[in-house]
Structure formats: structure tokens, C-alpha cells
Amino acid sequence: MNTWHKLKWPIIALALVLLFNFIFSSGFFQVEIKNGRLYGSLIDILHRAAPVMLISLGMTLVIATGGIDLSVGSVMAIAGAVAALLLTKTEQPVAMVIIISLAVSFLFGVWNGTLVGLFGITPIVATLILMVSGRGIAQLLTDGQIVTFDNSAFEFIGRGALLGLPFTIWLVLFTFILLTVFTKKTAVGLFIEATGDNEKASAYAGVNTNVVKMLVYAICSLLAGLAGLIVATDIKAADANNAGQWIELDAILAVVIGGTALTGGRFFFAGSLLGATLIQALTTTILTRGVPVQWTLVVKALVIIAVCLLQSETFRRFILPRWKKVTV
């Protein structure tokens, strides 16, 4: 009941978007099977949303501690660049390519976590440093060029399919389950929520709040790296200039729509996934409706503002009594 209460408005918004498509876009709900793989707009939305979904899962944990990670887009670019370089310049097996690029992403997360946890730098400032310099690092790695590669085994990450579904969707599902188990079947979730809700009291109760922060930034960066690999395999290239640009904003929005408060505390993975899906569904709808490009951002913003307002207790208290009075 509580979960429903939290997620009511994003679910309704998503349902409305789908309903709109049901009425106005013929074939939106069609799902075809080609070469043992499902195709269709719905599948496409989930597939396209996968990078934001992965990052939003990590961002959920960061935000739950009361922090924020602006550097995820740059970490994506770095992961893509590292992978592309390893594929084109070395003979590393694909597994090593993946492991090394994810490990690099993880280390950048540890860096963020160190700045925030150990040195007490404000998260927005600490991660801004990597947001700016990280893209520079990616550009240095690739000499400012788009590095293309051709490796079908590696490309499976972003283009492969498993049991009829895009592999990206499986990745999201797997990460979601893994993180849920990791946070709910150990004390990690409790410590994260406690730290975000009242850091001082948590520290007084013995929670190692520094390690908690280190952990969440590291996880967030690791997932950003994974998202970076998906994006790179999708275009078969590392594009240091554009990969992951502005994605932190979509991820943060997804988390907020999903019911995790920016002030920290309770977190909801499922809500974040729902938020990311809503954002992508909107984008896809706008694109397929042929709305002039300059309108897409405005429409997206309007829908999201509506969801956020309806979720806000203050707003509802302000508006609903008047509304009820009118209907009675």
C-alpha cells in the first residue's frame, strides 16, 4: 500500500502515455518475432532506457545517502573510451576488456567517494570535478576522435539478445535483483538509509558513514561504466564528446520520480526503474509523433513537472482540498 502510494502518480503518467499511444499511434503495441527475437516499440523503450535505468539504480543509492553524482556521464565516456582503445590497440580478450573498463569506472567512483566521505567535500562539488575533468580524460584517451571498433563478441552487450529479449534488459533486471539482495539481505540498506536520514545520529550509533558513502559512489560509477559500454556497443564506437552527455539529469529525475527524496533516507529501486521507463516512453512517444524537435524537451519537462508536483505533499495539500470542494 505504501509502495503504491509512492508510485501512484508515475504509474498513472506512464499509463496515460501508453494510452495516448494506443489511441494515436497504430502498431505501438505490436510485438513481432524476428530471428527468435522480439521487436516492437515497447521492447525498444525498455532497451533504450537501459543505460539510464542502470545509472538510476546507482544514483538511487547515492541519493539515499543524501548525496548526488554528476559525474556519471563522464564515467560512461571514459569506460567507452577505455574499451575502444583496448579493442583497437591491444589483443586483450573481450572478457578482460570488459573487466578493465569496469574496474576503471569503479576506481573513479572510489575517488568520488573519497572526496565526499573522507574529505567531506559537498557531493555536488566533488562530483562536478570529475564531471568536467572526466570528459577531458576521455577525450585525451581518444585524442578527441571517435574510435570505432568491430568486435561481435563485445557488441553483444548492447546489441545481443537472450531468450528473445535484448541483452540490455536482462542486464538491468540482473542488476536490480543483485542490488536488492545486496541491500536488503545484509545491513547495507539499513546503513545507507540511516546515513542519509540523519548522518550524525548514525555515526553516533557506530555506523561507518564514510565507508557507506565510498560504497555508494563506487557502485554508482561501476554501473555508469556498464551503461557506457552499452552506449559504445550500440554505435560501435567510443564518442568521448557525446557519450552520456546530460544523462545524469535523466537519472536524477528518474530517482526523484521513483519516490526517493533528494534529502536522503528511504530508497526505492523499483521506483527509479519506473521513472527511467517513463522518461524514455515520453521521449520515444514524442519522437514517433513527429513533434518538432524543439518541442520535445518542453513536453518532457511539462509531464515531469506534473508528476513531481502531484507527488509533493505540500502541493497536494494546497490543491486537493480546493479540488474536492469543487467536485462535492
Partner: protein, 505 residues
């Protein structure tokens, strides 16, 4: 003198208020006359704070009527209530931590000339407001750096600073020492003579009888009755609050002055001090003993506790645990050695507001067990239910976020957190703050039995009576320095007071 057509200042009739799962107020009547101090009494969770919040627009009432100064009122926000002349100090001190004392006192009330603030006047006004309570503090100091007692006084000063017809004080004295309480009472009596109505909530019965003219008792959200303070004996007041007949015998604390303490000290401080907060101190803490730490506001009691628990680090001296020197850099390290610390400032240092009662209780235990050894959900539920019962915590269920509990019940949950972790040394800084008379006795019994089982307990309280009842040994601090130590039969309120008052030689 009483004119029959003259309406009382405030008349609440049939006030009801429910929250999900809780009927906080059921048809409560409450009347305050001009020029009286009216005590609002009841156990933890009886509905006192809720009644005040309904009256002042923090919550909207579900039913009933409110007549104030001959007008029907229904304030929608606390600002509304302030505008019509109701000034309130809420139980959970509501100051803005990063602003200065002066700004907190004058916030929203500054006169500005073309939008410019007159800082000199703000300062002067704040200093005057604090001086009225006999407190000399630097009003430029940030509130977050002030002790909880000073914060409480700032909140009171803020409430006194405006012209009001009704002044409401919800447990204003819970962190104050006798001296400050006396000052406050002086101000209250003066305001009363000027014709103000004053509502006063406290769990200290002495204080109730010292200033109140009338008493209204609530129990479980129900109105029990209104009484003249002078004609309601203390024991009867307690009976009315608890809803059962009591006799003096129920309040004789067990005689537990005899105790079995360890041979060698568990913890031994040699000249441990910290510049600016505590002068070098020698202290021995034994297993099986309740050591009381007494002294006035700012005498170094809390500072000692913080050094012991690793919140602050000493810059001189040695601390020995079981004879071995230790250096604690954080509370976490203290907990690794099985220490526990129930801090004084519940709101900022203890509760995790949005987490459930269950999670708040298991937190310290979970920390002791480590990240990966998750306390099973079944065990958590069992613990939560056990303490909810043992400490009589009033909550609809263990999953209720702790911030929705009444102040005293939050305090009980925090106590439960430390009891559940079962430390070797338990530091209790004002553990009964905001706790009602009945529960206080239960907690005192619990403290005694824990010491009986071999736990070392450091007990800090500004309530001398409680200090005398609970401690096997008392160390008195004054001006951040130890001035004397009392044992067994030497412990008495007068001995402690004497030690505190004794001029430095």
C-alpha cells in the same frame, strides 16, 4: 473579582484529532484563564503536544471548537496563531541551526528600513531577550554550536520576545538546571501578573507545583479533569495520569545502594582532558556500578561523555580499558570495545527520523554484528516487540516512523537501541529527558538491574533527586573540573549541591 460575563482567555471544547492508526485526542476540553499558569499533564503519548499543535495551527483539528479572546479561531499555520497572540515553544526545539542566536530570536520580526536590516538593533534586542532569562551568551554564536540547554533557552527567549496573550511552553525545562528553571519561573510569574495566560507542560512534578495554578490531565487522548493545583495532592495527580490508584509505596525506589562492583576499574582516566572543553580529569568506572556525573549546565558532564565515547578526542592524559591504554578516534571504535552512548540531544544526535521504531532499535546491535551478519527480520521483530512492551513504548506498531512518536516515546526507543546492543559500558546522558513519572521508575529499575548483571553505567542527569536515587557513586563537576566524589551514604542532594556551590579555593 470574577465577572460572570467575562470569558476565559482560551476555551477548547470537544477537540478531536486522529492520525492513521492513532486516536491522539478524543473530545478534549481545555480552558485557560487570564493571569494563570495552567499545567497540561499526562503520560508519554497522552496527547499534550498534539493538543498544543492543534491549537496553534500545526495540525488541523478533526472536530471541536476553539474560542480565544472571545473569537472563534481556526489557525491554519503557526504564523496565524502567532498573529492572534499565541506564542509557543514546541517540545522539539525548532531553531535554524546555521543561523546565530540573535538571528534566531529576531527572525521574521526585524524591522527593516527600505529592506535594510539594522543589525545593531537585532543584536541588542537578542541580548535583552536572553538577559531576561539571566543568560549571558554571545548572541553572534551559531545555534548549532550551542548546547541543547542554551538552544532551549533561545527558543524560550524567542517566544517571550513578542507581545502575546497566551504563552505555551511544551517541556521547556527538560534540559535545564535548577538555576535556569528558577529564572524562567520568575519570568512566568511576572507575565502571569501582567494578565497573560500560560500553558506549561512538564514531567517534573516539583515544577508543576511550583508555578501552576490549575492542572488539566489527559490520558490516552481523553480528558480526565481540571483541578486546582493547591487541592490536588501529588500522588493523586499521578494516579489520574496513569489511570490507576497508587500509594506512596509504589514510589519507594528499591534500596539498591549495595552493589557488587568489579575489583579493578573497567575504564580508568588519568588526567584526560581537552583544551576548551574539559580540564584534566581522573575517573574510574567499574563494572557493576552506576557512576553518577553531576554538575551544572556547562560543567563538563556531556563533554566527559563525548570524550569517553570517542566523539571528541582528548588532547592530554591516558585512558585505560582493562588496564590497557586505548585511544578512541570515533564512536565506532568505542562500540568495538562494547561501549554504548545514549546522547542528550535526541533530535539531532539520536533518532533516525524516517526509519521505523524497529530499525531505530536494532541499529546499534546491527553495527556490532557487522555489515554482512544481518540481524534476521524475525529477530528484529522479536527485539522490537520486546522493548515496546518492556518500556511501554506507545506506537501503533513497530513499523511506525519514529518521528511520529511522542517525544518521550522517542526517548524510550533510543534507550532500547542501547539496551539491545548490550554494552559493557553504557553512558546515559539525560536518559529520562521528557519521560513520564511512571516510565522513569521503570527505567531506573532497569538501570539498577543492568548494573546488577555487571554492566558499568555512567549516569548523567540534571535532576538531582534522580541522581541520588540511582547512583552508587557520584562525581561532581564544576567549571569543567572534578571537584569532589561521593560514595554510598555520603550521596545526598544537599551534599551534591554543596559541592557544586562551594567557592573555588
Amino acid at each position: 473579582m470574577s465577572d460572570p460575563t467575562h470569558l476565559p482567555l482560551l476555551q477548547l471544547r470537544g477537540i478531536s484529532k486522529s492520525f492513521p492508526g492513532v486516536k491522539a485526542l478524543a473530545e478534549v476540553d481545555f480552558t485557560v484563564r487570564r493571569g494563570e499558569v495552567h499545567a497540561l499533564m499526562g503520560e508519554n503519548g497522552a496527547g499534550k503536544s498534539t493538543l498544543i499543535k492543534v491549537l496553534t495551527g500545526v495540525y488541523q483539528r478533526d472536530g471541536g471548537s476553539a474560542l480565544f479572546d472571545a473569537h472563534d479561531i481556526n489557525p491554519k499555520t503557526p504564523q496565524d496563531a502567532q498573529r492572534i497572540g499565541i506564542s509557543t515553544v514546541y517540545q522539539e526545539v525548532n531553531l535554524i541551526p546555521h543561523l546565530s542566536v540573535a538571528e534566531n530570536i529576531c527572525l521574521g520580526r526585524q524591522r527593516s528600513k527600505f529592506g535594510f536590516l539594522n543589525w545593531r538593533e537585532i543584536r541588542r534586542r537578542a541580548e535583552k531577550a536572553m538577559a531576561r532569562l539571566g543568560i549571558a551568551v554571545d548572541v553572534a554564536e551559531t545555534v548549532a554550536n550551542c548546547s541543547i540547554a542554551i538552544q532551549q533557552l533561545v527558543a524560550i527567549a524567542r517566544a517571550l520576545d513578542i507581545d502575546a496573550k497566551l504563552l505555551i511552553l511544551d517541556e521547556p525545562t527538560s534540559s535545564l538546571d535548577e538555576k535556569e528553571v528558577e529564572r524562567l519561573f520568575g519570568v512566568m510569574r511576572k507575565l502571569k501578573d501582567e494578565g497573560l495566560g500560560i500553558v506549561f507542560v512538564t514531567h517534573f512534578l516539583d515544577q508543576v507545583y511550583a508555578v501552576s495554578d490549575r492542572i488539566t490531565v489527559l490520558r490516552n487522548g481523553n480528558f480526565v479533569g481540571e483541578y486546582e493545583a493547591a487541592s490536588l495532592p501529588r500522588i493523586e495527580l499521578i494516579s489520574k495520569m496513569m489511570g490507576k490508584e497508587l500509594s506512596e509505596a509504589d514510589f519507594k525506589a528499591a534500596d539498591r545502594k549495595e552493589h557488587q562492583r568489579g575489583e579493578t576499574p573497567l575504564l580508568h582516566l588519568e588526567n584526560v582532558g581537552r583544551r576548551g572543553s574539559l580540564k584534566p580529569l581522573n575517573l574510574e568506572i567499574f563494572e557493576g556500578e552506576v557512576l553518577g556525573l553531576s554538575g551544572l549546565l556547562g560543567s563538563g558532564r556531556t563533554e566527559t561523555a563525548r570524550l569517553l565515547f570517542g566523539v571528541d578526542q582528548p588532547d592530554s592524559g591516558t585512558t585505560r580499558l582493562d588496564g590497557n591504554p586505548i585511544k578512541l578516534k570515533s564512536p565506532r571504535q568505542a562500540m568495538e570495545r562494547k561501549f554504548g552512548f545514549c546522547p542528550e540531544d535526541r533530535k539531532t544526535e539520536a533518532i533516525i527520523p524516517n526509519l521505523s521504531v524497529r530499525e531505530n532499535i536494532v541499529l546499534a546491535l546491527q553495527v556490532n554484528q557487522g555489515w554482512m551478519r544481518y540481524v534476521s527480520r524475525a529477530k528484529q521483530n522479536e527485539l522490537a516487540d520486546k522493548f515496546i512492551k518492556a518500556l511501554n513504548i506507545k506506537t501503533p506498531h513497530a513499523e511506525q516512523p519514529i518521528r511520529l512518536l511522542s517525544g518521550g516515546n522517542q526517548q524510550k526507543v533510543i534507550l532500547a537501541r542501547w539496551l539491545a546492543s548490550h554494552p559493557r559500558l553504557l553512558i546515559l546522558d539525560e536518559p529520562t529527558r521528557g519521560i513520564d513519572v511512571g516510565a522513569k521508575l521503570e527505567i531506573e529499575k532497569l538501570v539498577a538491574s543492568l548494573a546488577g548483571e555487571g554492566m558499568a553505567i555512567l549516569f548523567i542527569s540534571s535532576d538531582l533527586e534522580e541522581m541520588v536515587r540511582n547512583s552508587h557513586r557520584v562525581v561532581v563537576l564544576r567549571d569543567r573540573k572534578k571537584v569532589c566524589e561521593l560514595q554510598g551514604g555520603e550521596i545526598s542532594e544537599s551534599a551534591i549541591m554543596h559541592a557544586i556551590a562551594k567557592a573555588e579555593s
